[in-house]
Amino acid sequence: MKFLPDQVVARLQTEMQTPDLSGTRYRALELLGHGGMGTVWLAQDSILQRPVALKVLAAENSSADLAARLMQEAMVLARLEHPGIVPVHDAGTLADGRTFYCMKHVEGQTLDLYARKLPLRERLRLFQRIAEPLAFAHSRGIIHRDLKPANVMVGPFGEVLIMDWGLAKIMPVVASSATGQAPQHAIETDELSSSATKAPAHEFTRAAQDSLSSEALAPENTTAHGTVLGTPGYMAPEQKRGEVNLIDQRTDIFAMGSILQSLLQEPSGSPEGESYSRPLRAICAKAMSAEMSARYASVQELAADVGRYLDGLPVSAYRENIFERTARLVSRNRVAVVLVLAYLFMRLLFILFSRR
């Protein structure tokens, strides 16, 4: 028996972890990273001759439950066709038994890295762009449940993509969600995650049925109430408590509030400047309210409040006093104020000199 040095054992172990792509059109090029459920590989699509990303279930996670979850993630992505959501090309099971799906290879940086170099107002506009695909997903009844800067990619042209929908939950889409009201969640419907009980047949609204087939997406199982899924620091209180039945789009709004808060942090860490303005802090506080009913009802409302701040308008989350209102109005109408003041000054001079 040939003795294998440590480095050879380590290499073989890595080799074994490499997904077996035999029989597929893909060729693994390099490991891009590890996610919660699996590994993401850069691969070459040998037919279309383009790089793609393969998300493959991690070895230690290759249980039937998680394989189903990964497949559900692929199915959700396949139905969320939006420029801000990474498109999925293919899904299946590899020769080594691991579940995988193939998606567009996104080149770029995660939000936290990308935002570091931007001034505050650019960061706020970036935040508004994250809200767009999220609002789209919510309109299709999909709750992300794991929003955080590391799950938002910014491409070389500033395009924003929300990644990692592995913990997503499918909600019943009711008419109110399209109008910006919080969805009713009397019925716990499909879950992308799984446990032991078979989900009942679910009803979707017509709009949702157009884009999401409940039959196709209805998983075998649902996440048990009490199961905690998400990332600490970005999890809403109801998520931390494992109150799965309560989770709706306002759970994502809490995470968006956390993301906004992180975007307000100056790279220098200095507690000075606009990023510490009360309206922005109030927007974060409202989005991150412990009480779900106190949060923004929709991600559009949240983005709109940020937009109002950028436009120098009052934000819904903060009631300003007379001084702040004056200061804001002056700041917003600087040219007009200067012109009026100049006019008044000239007028005053004219009156003074005309009396002499």
């Binding site: 073989l12 077996d20 070895a59 230690e60 290759s62 080594d96």
Partner: protein, 243 residues
């Protein structure tokens, strides 16, 4: 008792080699014990050397004695796969036997094991000197277990490739994946060395790695105590959903 020749796949009629070793068919039991001995003697020998700081000759005696007793005293009868891994059970047996021998001072004299197992301790000593020994003896035992698993799987692959007339495939794999990292050849260099096309190198490596994966799984089956343990190890150690 002679260990199963390297690479000779153990013809399991039961799902686990331990179940075979615990069975009633003497022939099957004997072959199962061969498989276990073949897979475990190196980790056992090296563990004893490190854990108990015993001299080489004493470690050799102990290893012989341990595997003899494993067969004769039916140690494996008390192994319950539901309670833990086979290798943890064996390590506990080693510690217990060693402590008993120390206490009773009834250690058998060198070469007196009732059943002599043909083991290459010289080679094991060289390996012991070549491997890094950081951390606990238990951790080292685990590490040696993985090393043995891969090494035996490589042997299986070699034998399999020889019998299938695919020696070049194995040679390319050996040269590229088992060689020194610093002197790892390029695909072009391998193609030139083996007089094959560069695209063949890719194909040969893909073939060998795929077969190696199968060999590791086959070997893993011989080194685990239950189907659950096998599945768990295959997932956590090797990254595959074993079938």
């Amino acid at each position: 008792m002679t260990p199963t020749p390297q690479g000779d796949a153990f013809p399991l009629t039961r799902h686990s080699v331990v179940a075979a070793a615990q069975g009633r068919d003497p022939e099957e039991r004997s072959r199962a014990m061969d498989a276990i001995t073949n897979s475990y003697w190196r980790p056992v020998y090296k563990y004893v050397r490190l854990r108990w700081h015993v001299e080489r000759e004493d470690a050799e005696d102990f290893t012989q004695d341990f595997f003899s007793r494993l067969l004769e005293k039916d140690f494996l009868a008390s192994y319950d796969p539901a309670k833990g891994k086979l290798r943890t059970f064996l390590r506990t047996c080693i510690d217990r036997l060693f402590m008993n021998q120390l206490r009773d001072s009834h250690r058998q004299k060198r070469g007196e094991a009732a059943v002599h197992v043909s083991l290459d301790f010289e080679e094991a000593e060289h390996e012991l000197a070549a491997s890094t020994q950081n951390g606990s003896a238990e951790g080292y035992f685990e590490k040696e277990w993985v090393r043995t698993l891969f090494a035996l799987a490589v042997e299986r692959l070699r034998v399999q490739c020889q019998s299938a007339g695919k020696t070049t495939q194995f040679a390319v794999f050996e040269r590229y994946d088992l060689g020194d990292k610093d002197s790892r050849p390029s695909y072009a260099a391998l193609a030139e060395e083996f007089h094959i096309a560069a695209t063949d190198v890719t194909n040969y490596l893909a073939f060998a790695r795929r077969e190696f994966r199968r060999c590791v799984l086959a070997q893993l089956r011989d080194m685990t105590g239950s189907d659950e343990e096998f599945q768990r190890e295959a997932r956590s150690l090797l990254g595959v959903e074993a079938k």
